[in-house]
Amino acid sequence: MAEVAVSSAGLTKRFGRQTVVDSLDLAVPTGAVYGFLGPNGSGKTTTLRMLLGLASADAGAAVVLGHAVPDGLADALPHVGALVEGPAFYPYLSGAANLARLDAADRSTDPSTRAERVGAALERVGLSAAAGKKAKAYSLGMKQRLGIAGALLRPRALLVLDEPTNGLDPQGTREVRALVRSLADDGTTVLVSSHLLAEVEQICSHVGVMSRGRLVAQGTLEEFRAASGVQVSVRTPDRTEAAATLARLGLTEVMVDGETGGTAGVRAALGSVAPEAVVAALVADGVRVRGFQVATTSLEDRFVALTGEGFDVAG
């Protein structure tokens, strides 16, 4: 198995004169849970379509599970489970019959184990009780689960999940996250797209951020956290003195908050200084410290900075 499950170089897609995906260099390491993050319309789904051979690229190349896209995809796709742009079904067929139909389309599966595998996939997403129900009678959340079940019809090396928690209630969202984690623990590489930062932060080991068709950042979640830095905030009436002390200690981005009651204070990026040294210096300088806090900032600010306005960060 290659070390990189999915990679692309200069991958580009244009619709007419509009460039929807602009020379993307993607690298999804094998075994990673890769969060493909970006606002709606930033080109995530189009990228996934190109990687999976549904759409052709106008420029660039991609490799999925060691097979070139699109010529080698016939060998790669049986090992890829995918949910792209929402689930889709034959409304007049039952959930189980829908999965059986998908399974029949895959030449490499064994028909004699089909019923068993369909049952197992439905079980895994908690749809066993509704297996015989027509898909049109399914709720939005049930359809989403059935779509994920379709991706789990056989053991996969790679799962591509496009907005997998869309339409799910909080309970269902938690279940999907747990499912993704358990699949990743089994060694499945997961490429999950989302416009929800909280989701990515909770389940992903790697992150790629899309904005207006470009991949603006890519790396491990730790790298992102480190880049966003650790902040200290001091609650004190002696703001000017405190700011001077922090600056003297070498803290950067020192900011003095406004005069709004008891929460007023001073904030700064900690850098490499030890927090206890900061407190000691403040006290030694006669600053009346009423509160001191060390916080790793959420990734939110960093992502908003990368993707610009209009980014949906609601959890």
């Binding site: 379509r49 999976l52 051979g53 549904l54 759409a55 052709s56 995809l73 016939a74 796709l77 049986p78 890829v80 995918a82 792209v84 742009e85 929402g86 689930p87 889709a88 079904f89 034959y90 409304p91 007049y92 067929l93 059986a100 139909r101 998908l102 399974d103 029949a104 389309a105 895959d106 030449r107 064994d110 028909p111 004699s112 184990t113 379709g150």
Partner: protein
């Protein structure tokens, strides 16, 4: 493979496709509407006090009371210009556009079904329907006709007498002829279906082609065009009812339809294998 199995390329997908097509309520409704035609023909003739005179009404109608087989033959002839083509247009027009419309096309391709394999499977399924439609009418026509008018010998168009089994064979041949005659239209429908995500649009375009071709076929000023129209052989089945049997028109039908299937099959393939599936 844990079990020995005949490996037809696309075999299991074809089975799935045929099951999907023929278990679908819409397909059954289409077939039901078609088999209502022989029932109506038989009941109408049975109830009318004066049977139609020679040459009155659709071909063979005056002979229906001679043999039940004429119920099947008359109904098929009545249904060829419009009713059967409409059902073929619905099935062929829905083939890809329907899947694209509900989004299942992308999941079939991701399975991966393979685009060429999917085209072959869909094409075969639509072709099966082309034969199933006249076959269903023939079976019901024979059954109703035999029940009301008996299952006897009948006069051929050349004046001789065909024995009852020969009559049965000719009805089957007629149904087969009509099945072949629909293949060109089916190929066109399949192609149009790869162009759009709106199944109704593909169906309508296919019906329009069937009607337009027949109108053009009726204009004597366009004689030069007639041999190329896919509807040109639709009504040339008289040879099948002569004794002895003349195969010329059957072969002409096969060649014409094969040409249309080749052209639109190739276009459908070119379109499907290069198309971005964005639905």
């Amino acid at each position: 493979m844990s079990r020995a199995e005949v490996r037809v390329p696309g075999g299991r997908l074809l089975r799935s496709e045929l099951a999907l097509l023929f278990r679908r309520r819409r397909t059954l409704a289409l077939l039901l509407a078609l088999v209502a035609i022989p029932v109506l023909v038989a009941v109408a003739v049975e109830l009318s006090s004066t049977p139609p005179g020679p040459g009155e009404g659709p071909p063979f109608l005056d002979q229906v009371t001679q043999s039940g087989a004429f119920v099947a033959a008359t109904s098929l002839v009545v249904a060829v210009p419009f009713f059967i083509p409409v059902t073929v247009a619905v099935v062929a027009g829905d083939s890809f556009a329907g899947e694209a419309n509900q989004g299942t096309l992308r999941y079939l391709l991701l399975a991966p079904a393979g685009r060429t394999r999917l085209l072959v499977v869909k094409g075969v399924a639509v072709a099966v329907f082309c034969f199933a439609a006249p076959a269903a009418m023939a079976v019901v026509g024979m059954a109703v006709g035999t029940a009301l008018f008996g299952f006897g010998d009948a006069a051929s168009l050349s004046g001789g007498v065909l024995d009852r089994w020969d009559v049965l064979a000719r009805v089957a041949l007629l149904a087969g002829y009509i099945g072949v005659a629909m293949l060109g239209l089916a190929a066109f429908g399949l192609f149009v279906s790869t162009l759009t995500d709106v199944p109704v649009g593909a169906m309508a375009a296919t019906v329009v082609l069937a009607i337009a071709a027949q109108i053009l076929g009726g204009l004597s000023q366009l004689d030069w065009l007639h041999p190329w129209l896919l509807t040109d052989t639709w009504l040339d089945f008289a040879d099948l009812l002569r004794s002895p049997l003349v195969w010329d028109s059957f072969l002409a039908n096969v060649w014409l339809q094969a040409g249309w299937v080749a052209v639109f099959g190739a276009l459908a393939w070119a379109r499907l294998t290069s198309k971005d599936v964005l639905s």
